[in-house]
């Protein structure tokens, strides 16, 4: 007989069931702001960066997301300039009320942007290399890329010990990153008796470098070190170096090697060395899964800058899972700093300032591919 009690229990069960499934469907996504250069001189690098993030988000969402929630990326254009980076971060934080921010692809932008997010929201800076980003950071500020100091230490050792060059000339981008690079290398290379014969600065929008290269060529150094963050400018510089008749060694600056650069530079980049956190011939399982997903979603080849974007999503997902809450920033920051993370770029940790301690690999361009060198 159907008693009132049975009816009540059945009704309760149905209600709970409905509520349960409604809850499961209604879990809002974790909203991460992806602020990068989508237009202007760095547009292509920004595109690679966002693609890297989207591919990793897809891999994580396919496995169920984080805390049962999907990751949603909201993109903003910082145009590669600090003012826009600041206004985008403000919009993301105040108007769109995102949960976390990933940005700081260019150093100049990162330095300005961290002030907007200071102690307000988790902000992962990705490819910027300037040490002050973490030296003058805040409790929710993290930075993935090795600083230019860390990269130059490793790279200078290699240049001093392995490459048989006695003199170097520099061609450098005229911004915070470039000026720091030149200062670092003058000290490091000087320490092993390599003569720095000269340096020419170029600007963000230059397309013709023949004037600078003619000056550098006349200095007759054994090698020319090219400091170029932007793929398009980099490729033009490498080609024009060879076109100027220079026959010496070309050293590519750390962290700026990517497949598009290799494609555009053609023969000018063959045999050229660089250092990178990402080598496309890696055997890391997470990296391979990411590269497979990337290949399904995008036409470009996975690049270092994309891998940094992917790493930001990967560690954020892990930290949120550990903290149990996408908006408890103290817990997330503690989680990030509290353990070793197994990422697509290998095992990393964060120091007390939020600086990631990454693995730095020597790479070389051989037969138009970027491979790990020794």
């Amino acid at each position: 007989m159907i008693t009132r009690r049975t009816l009540a229990l059945t009704a309760a069960a149905i209600a709970l069931g409905a509520a349960g499934s409604a809850l499961a469907q209604d879990k809002p996504p974790i909203r991460i702001a992806a602020i990068g250069p989508l237009s202007g001189a760095g547009a292509f690098d920004g595109q690679l960066a966002i693609e890297g993030m989207q591919a990793m988000a897809a891999v994580i969402n396919a496995k169920g997301g984080v805390l049962g929630r999907k990751i949603e990326l909201i993109t903003y254009d910082d145009k590669g300039v600090p003012e826009e980076g600041v206004s985008a971060a403000k919009r993301a934080l105040e108007q769109d009320k995102v949960d976390l921010i990933v940005g700081g692809w260019f150093s100049a932008v990162a330095l300005a942007q961290k002030e907007v997010t200071r102690d307000k929201i988790i902000n992962i800076m990705t490819s910027s290399q300037h040490p002050k980003v973490t030296d003058e950071g805040h409790k929710y500020l993290f930075r993935l890329n090795a600083t230019s100091t860390m990269m130059s230490d490793r790279y200078a050792k290699f240049i001093c010990d392995k490459m048989k060059v006695k003199s170097v000339s520099f061609i450098t981008i005229n911004d915070d990153y470039g000026r720091l690079e030149v200062d670092n290398y003058k000290k490091l290379l000087g320490a092993c008796n390599i003569e720095v014969k000269g340096n020419e600065f170029y600007n963000r929008n230059d397309t013709d470098f023949t004037t600078a290269l003619t000056k550098l060529r006349s200095q007759n150094a054994d090698a020319i070190y090219v400091s170029a963050i932007n793929t398009s400018q980099g490729a033009t510089i490498y080609r024009q170096i060879r076109q100027s008749g220079y026959k010496g060694t070309i050293i590519a600056s750390a962290g700026n090697m990517n497949p598009k650069l290799v494609e555009l530079s053609g023969p000018a980049l063959e045999g050229v060395y660089s250092v990178s956190l990402f080598a496309p011939d890696t055997t890391n399982a997470s990296a391979k899964a990411w590269m497979a997903q990337y290949g399904k979603m995008f036409k470009n080849e996975p690049s270092f800058i994309g891998s940094l974007g992917a790493q930001s999503v990967e560690v954020l997902a892990g930290a949120i899972e550990k903290a149990g809450d996408a908006r408890n920033y103290d817990k997330i920051a503690a989680a990030l700093k509290g353990q070793k993370w197994n990422t697509l770029l290998g095992e990393i940790t964060f120091d007390t300032k939020g600086q990631a301690l990454q693995n730095i690999y020597l790479v070389q361009v051989k037969d138009k591919k970027i491979v790990t060198a020794n």
Binding site: F44, T236, S244, G266, A268
Partner: protein, 292 residues
């Protein structure tokens, strides 16, 4: 050694300057005959470079052939651009037409980003990486090609305008549009012809100068700015002015950048226009009458 470096910088400047000349000739013609300040001129340069890229990479046609196809194709697009963006505004104030050209430029640049993508492209020509040694001086074959073609085109354009029937009609329309119409010249046809010719020249310069650097949808901005600097220096409407202005700008940039400061290189062009406009606004080389 110092003299060699100096000579090399002069050669660099000459090569760049000739590229500027090619860009400026079309621009100055359009102003002279149609009285239009065409901000979209750089976008036709951009199209010329992109068309050359796609024709060589997709259709497999060799660079020189692709260059010709691109020039003709963009000239044809120029006819349409004139028809839709400038002809209806013929009777309006020059400023309105200028704004229209600005709108066209934005449309073309952003349309290019949408259609071709934001990734940089490289127009692969076998001349770009091959160098020629002239004594101790080095210059790429591509830049020599730019210089050669620019000289031929300038001479050809000058001869065309002075000695052919159409050229004389263009001169007449430039000097006095109403008078020209009264003598039976179809000024609408002259306008369309001149505009197409100028767009073809812009495309040709894009196809030639493009391979010296990477190609993105923003190159048009760069090109039109250089073009304007040269045109102001040389005098609006003057072909010989464009020649001398372009070469002067190229060499000034190269020497200024080489000996004063590289940051100066871009600034030199702007500094020159300000000086020219203050001191001799009709242009350094223009012969004057009948022009603004």
């Amino acid at each position: 050694m110092e003299i060699v470096v100096f000579a090399q910088q002069v050669v660099n400047g000459l090569a760049n300057g000739m590229g500027y000349v090619l860009i400026a000739v079309g621009l100055t013609l359009v102003f002279g005959v149609l009285r239009i300040v065409n901000f979209a001129h750089g976008e036709f340069y951009m199209l010329g470079a992109y068309f050359t890229y796609y024709v060589t990479s997709l259709a497999g046609i060799d660079y020189l052939g692709a260059l010709v196809i691109a020039t003709v194709a963009v000239a044809a697009i120029g006819v349409f651009a004139n028809q839709f963006f400038f002809r209806p505004l013929r009777k309006e104030h020059e400023f309105t037409i200028l704004l229209s050209s600005l709108g066209l430029a934005l449309l073309m640049a952003n349309g290019a980003e949408y259609l071709f993508g934001a990734d940089p492209k490289y127009v692969n020509t076998r001349y770009a990486d091959e160098t020629v040694d002239i004594g101790p001086l080095v210059v790429t074959q591509q830049r020599l090609l730019v210089i050669a073609v620019a000289l031929v085109m300038i001479a050809g354009t000058y001869w065309f305008i002075r000695f052919t029937r159409m050229g004389k009609m263009m001169q007449a329309t430039a000097q006095n549009p109403e008078g020209a119409a009264l003598t039976g010249i179809n000024t609408g046809f002259v306008h369309a012809y001149t505009f197409a010719f100028a767009c073809g020249l812009a495309a040709l310069s894009g196809a030639l100068v493009g391979p010296t650097a990477m190609l993105t949808h923003t190159v048009g901005d760069w090109a039109v700015l250089k073009g304007f600097i040269v045109v102001v220096m040389g005098g609006l409407g003057s072909i010989t002015g464009a020649l001398f202005g372009g070469v002067l700008l190229g060499i000034a940039e190269s020497l200024g950048g080489g000996y004063i400061s590289l940051g100066f290189k871009e600034a030199i062009g702007y500094a020159i226009i300000i000086l020219v406009l203050l001191w001799r606004p009709q242009g350094l080389f223009s012969v004057g009458s009948g022009r603004r």
